[in-house]
């Protein structure tokens, strides 16, 4: 009897449509586009700042347009909250803590990340004069 193993084809472009797990993964990964967009905004802002007060004020004004505010809101909620939620959930896998014979429950590691995030955020707000 001859062996002729059959190899099932896998689509290089639509593989992530196979199940919910892969779709959620892609939603997380696609946030990199928003990171890129924010980098672009930061460079635009820096260039405007370097070009003088008039340009800087025009940049600030552009950010306050209703459409732009919407874009910022979507980026903040999707990129910051979704990405953060997903990565913090995964943190205990990469950094398990074992104390003697017992493993520290994952939720403590996740909570520690949220606490650290809140402290850093408060510091940044304080630095920016918001609080």
């Amino acid at each position: 009897m001859s062996r002729q193993p059959y190899v099932r084809p896998v689509s290089k472009t639509t593989w992530y449509m196979r199940n919910g797990r892969y779709k959620r993964y892609m939603l997380r990964e696609v946030t990199c586009l928003l990171v890129g967009l924010y980098c672009f905004l930061a460079i635009w802002g820096l260039a405007a700042l370097a070009a003088g007060a008039e340009n800087w004020n025009a940049f600030l004004k552009a950010q306050q347009l209703p459409g732009m505010a919407g874009v910022h809101a979507v980026m903040l909620v999707y990129f910051l909250v979704y990405m953060t939620f997903d990565w913090f959930k995964l943190a205990p896998k990469a950094m398990p803590v074992q104390m003697g014979e017992k493993k520290l429950p994952d939720r403590y590691i996740v909570i520690a990340h949220y606490v650290a995030w809140a402290i850093v955020s408060l510091f940044v707000f304080w630095l920016a004069g918001v609080i």
């Binding site: 062996r3 059959y6 196979r18 797990r21 896998k93 014979e101």
Partner: protein, 245 residues
Amino acid sequence: MSMRQMELEVMRYDPEQDEQPRFQKYSVPCVDDWAILDALNYVKENIDTTLAYRWSCHMMVCGSCGMMVNGEPSLTCKTFIRDLPDHVRIEPLANFPIERDLVVVLDDVMEKLRMAKPFIIRKDPPPEDQEFIQSRAALYKFKQYTMCVNCMCCYAACPQYALDSSFIGPAVLALAHRYNIDSRDQGKSERLNLLADHDGVWECSFVGACSEVCPKSVDPAAAVQQMKIDGAKEWWKQKLGGAKS
């Protein structure tokens, strides 16, 4: 005991006759506490003796009855009829070539398993007439990884392995990690080249599906992420001229 008539839609492939796999339906009178494996055994014994599939222990130990059940990589001996709808689609494990019907070719993973050196390596001689003493705390560090039964459900769930089978993959990496963190082992540096190589841990983009489907609750995704940290530390050590661990 209650009975249910189930329709099993089973992927068939006869390398001597078929150009590609096809599906065949079987109507099976199932007892509610049967597992899918029992239903397949019923087909084999009463309906179609030509159906080919692997199984051995029927108790989640041998790891040979892994298949796709309604698209999910599963050990068919622990996938119960009572938890499934009346129509069930059974396919061979995804991401592996099909040898025949529900039997897949596992040669690739077996070769990778050998390369990962999944055994204790000692540089110092073992203690004479003594056992290697290991504390319970040291055992619990890696114990979950010893539960792997090589069913390969994690490979069937891994999209990275699906797209590029040169990736070493979840079960082998988890097993290598199991020995790397075993307090009796001194072979971490011997496994490093393979694991930190292009096809090793860095190919994993942390989808996490491997851990979600594991029927033995092993967490290969965690092992891979921890190995990435180890690999990065080792790289810095070497860059800064430190000794290999």
